[in-house]
């Protein structure tokens, strides 16, 4: 299967390298708008086709799938072009810079037997997978309380670039980064019914740098969420959930899962080193390898597979956070499937 990459930045390079080492997959073409990148590809990767327009690559490169790793505003237009041509696609999160954009893509995919994947890689981090498994096995009894956080020390002055221009990116930390945690909460605890949130800009001029939110779930649970990219001490991104149940509590983060019993003694602990099982190829974290393997396997086995509904759901949660914050009150979140309009 031949793959084309649109946007050869760090994520495009990473996903392409991972795909290239899977039997039956091959990066055959790359699109980038930078002349330097195109010249570097021509010089260092002479066997890979290079394009400055994704339309041309999709039409002429003879590819079966596209990896979309461009600034957010262009995700949906590129994916629509891929769908029209009958190509499978992987795109980085978030799906689009607006919810209506996300709905357009959801609608366009309906009834198309294509593999589509949005890059919610945290679902492939072994500790979060283990956490989900322990919850499903009722390791702490009935869940009563959830608190969660996701941080990175990134923004300590006004920034330039597309990420900080909401007309291109769709927003700040919530759509760019907190969205991973929102997806994990949806995955762990199901449908959300109420969202109350407050976003705050600390250093950025046009986008938010922090958010505090409270989710109510259909099953009666509630979860608190705190997220910031303007907090010191988190050179590497960090996400953690603390879940309290009738029989104990569980903390899950990127590094470990720990279950404590009612007396506070550790009942089980699984570190990332314990859960690391050896992967076909690891460049920047096994979660990315597992993600690309899942994408490739679905294409090769011709299994229709898509996480588009989850991706749109996460985007709806982002939208609800922005809308609750601007209204200054909780908003009801329509449960059930996404409503493409």
């Amino acid at each position: 299967m031949k793959v084309g990459i649109v946007g050869f930045g760090k994520m495009g390079m990473l996903h392409g390298a991972l795909l290239n080492k899977i039997d039956g997959m091959e990066v055959a073409a790359i699109t980038d708008s930078s002349r330097v990148i195109i010249n570097a590809i021509r010089s260092l990767l002479p066997n890979i086709g290079h394009f400055m327009s994704y339309e041309k690559m999709i039409d002429h490169a003879g590819i079966d799938a596209v990896v979309i790793t461009t600034p957010t505003f262009s995700h949906v237009p590129i994916a629509l072009k891929a769908i029209k041509k009958g190509l499978h696609f992987f795109m980085e999160k978030p799906l689009g810079n607006t919810l209506s954009n996300a709905f357009v893509l959801e609608k366009a995919l309906k009834g198309r037997p294509l593999v589509s994947m949005v890059g919610f890689h945290m679902r492939y981090i072994p500790t979060f997978v283990k956490g989900k498994e322990l919850l499903t096995r009722n390791a702490i009894g009935n869940v009563r309380e959830i608190s969660s956080e996701i941080y990175v020390s990134d923004i300590f002055s006004p920034q330039k670039g597309w990420r900080y221009d909401p007309s291109v990116s769709g927003g700040g930390i919530v759509i760019d980064y907190t969205i991973h945690l929102l997806d994990i909460l949806h995955w762990y605890f199901g449908e959300v019914t109420t969202v109350k949130a407050k976003v705050k800009s600390v250093y950025s001029k046009l986008v938010e740098d922090e958010v505090k939110a409270e989710f109510g779930f259909r099953n009666g649970l509630s979860a608190s969420i705190i997220s910031s990219w303007s907090i010191p001490g988190y050179r590497l991104p960090y996400c953690a959930l603390k879940i309290t149940g009738d029989n104990g509590s569980m903390t899950v983060n990127d590094h470990s899962v720990t279950v404590t019993d009612k007396n506070g003694s550790i009942a089980q602990r699984h570190t990332v080193a314990d859960l690391y099982s050896g992967y076909y190829f690891d460049i920047a974290g096994c979660c990315y390898s597992l993600q690309m393997e899942a994408f490739a396997r679905a294409i090769i086995s011709k299994k229709h597979s898509s996480n588009i509904l989850d991706a749109v759901y996460a985007q709806r949660l982002v939208d609800a956070i922005y809308s609750s914050s601007s209204r200054g009150s909780a908003v009801a979140f329509a449960g059930g499937p996404n409503e493409a309009s």
Partner: protein, 299 residues
């Protein structure tokens, strides 16, 4: 070129992750460490604990703090004598810059980031000419020199290409990038060109195709198989098939193994003669290095 002398590589090295707040098991601990080691004299203490325990080698990435650390080492007779193993580039810095600035501005920022006006001018000329001529391997060499800037007048023994970059080279099968790095480091620095990897069998394969049959390779080696891809057994088998010297990283599997058990396993393989280990207290240093030196001694 003369064959590489790998006998100069020390059996035990002090790692640097703890200085920069990397703790794979406990981010809270990592943050506390980062705070503590902002005070350079704390780093100096740890380096002296290593020397007191007979460990005279230190492994560094090119974290922004490294300028202060290398200044401190040059000013101290004992630290100046230590062997230095450098891992380039400091990948978080590039990842952050690439997200914010894109490729072109990252390259220019790196070249401009060089200290001293004359060096800065020279780098801009050399980098600019390489870029204009489309000579990307020469541009990469230019960035190697930028990264090596802080290590002048120190006893550098080897320069490692970071595992994320060898990963990309493997993924896109860029044999010439690997070969260029090897040749440039030997020619320009006359030290051991070394390679970090999380994927030893794939690394050994690309090295072979780059006609590099014997050098220093750093990869995950530990009883848990952490960072050993595609698996512990496959890596163990591959170690004995090649003549590379193996430097075990994550020997304690990110702190989840006790030193005795961990080092006994690595030594029992018979193929891995070097380890790098990070630590942050005198007690920890005394214990870990004592056990390490029991299993890893200079041949």
């Amino acid at each position: 070129m003369k064959p590489l002398d790998l006998s100069v590589v020390e059996p035990v090295m002090l790692g640097d992750n703890q200085f920069f707040g990397v703790n794979h098991l406990s981010p809270d601990k990592g943050r506390a460490m980062e705070e503590r080691f902002r005070d350079i004299s704390e780093i100096k203490k740890i380096m002296y604990y290593a020397i007191d325990n007979g460990v005279n080698a230190v492994f560094f990435s090119t974290h922004p703090l490294v300028y202060q650390i290398t200044d401190m080492m040059r000013a101290d007779a004992a630290l100046k004598k230590m062997s230095v193993y450098v891992n380039i580039p400091y990948i978080s810095k590039y990842v952050r810059m690439l997200s914010e600035k894109g490729m072109e501005r990252t390259i220019t920022t790196m070249l401009l980031g060089e200290k001293g006006l004359m060096r800065k001018m020279a780098f801009i000329m050399r980098g600019g000419i390489s870029l204009a001529r489309g000579n990307y391997l020469e541009l990469a060499n230019c960035l190697v020199d930028v990264e090596m800037g802080p290590f002048y007048d120190l006893n550098v023994k080897a320069i490692f290409l970071h595992d994320a970059l060898t990963g990309l080279a493997i993924g896109y099968d860029m044999v010439n990038v690997i070969k260029n790095f090897y040749q440039y480091i030997r020619r320009r620095y006359q030290v051991i060109p070394a390679f970090g990897t999380l994927n030893y069998p794939l690394m050994a394969d690309i090295l072979k195709r780059a006609e590099i049959v014997r050098t220093l390779v750093m990869c995950g080696v530990n009883k848990k198989g952490y960072f050993m891809n595609p698996g512990r057994k496959a890596c163990e088998e591959e170690f004995s098939r090649h003549s590379h010297a193996i430097l075990a990283m994550s020997p304690l599997a990110a702190g989840s193994l006790k030193p005795e058990e961990a080092f006994e396993y690595i030594a029992s393989l018979g193929t891995v003669k070097h380890i790098v280990v990070g630590l942050s207290s005198k007690e920890h240093a005394d214990e870990t290095f004592r056990i390490a030196r029991k299993y890893f001694t200079k041949a």
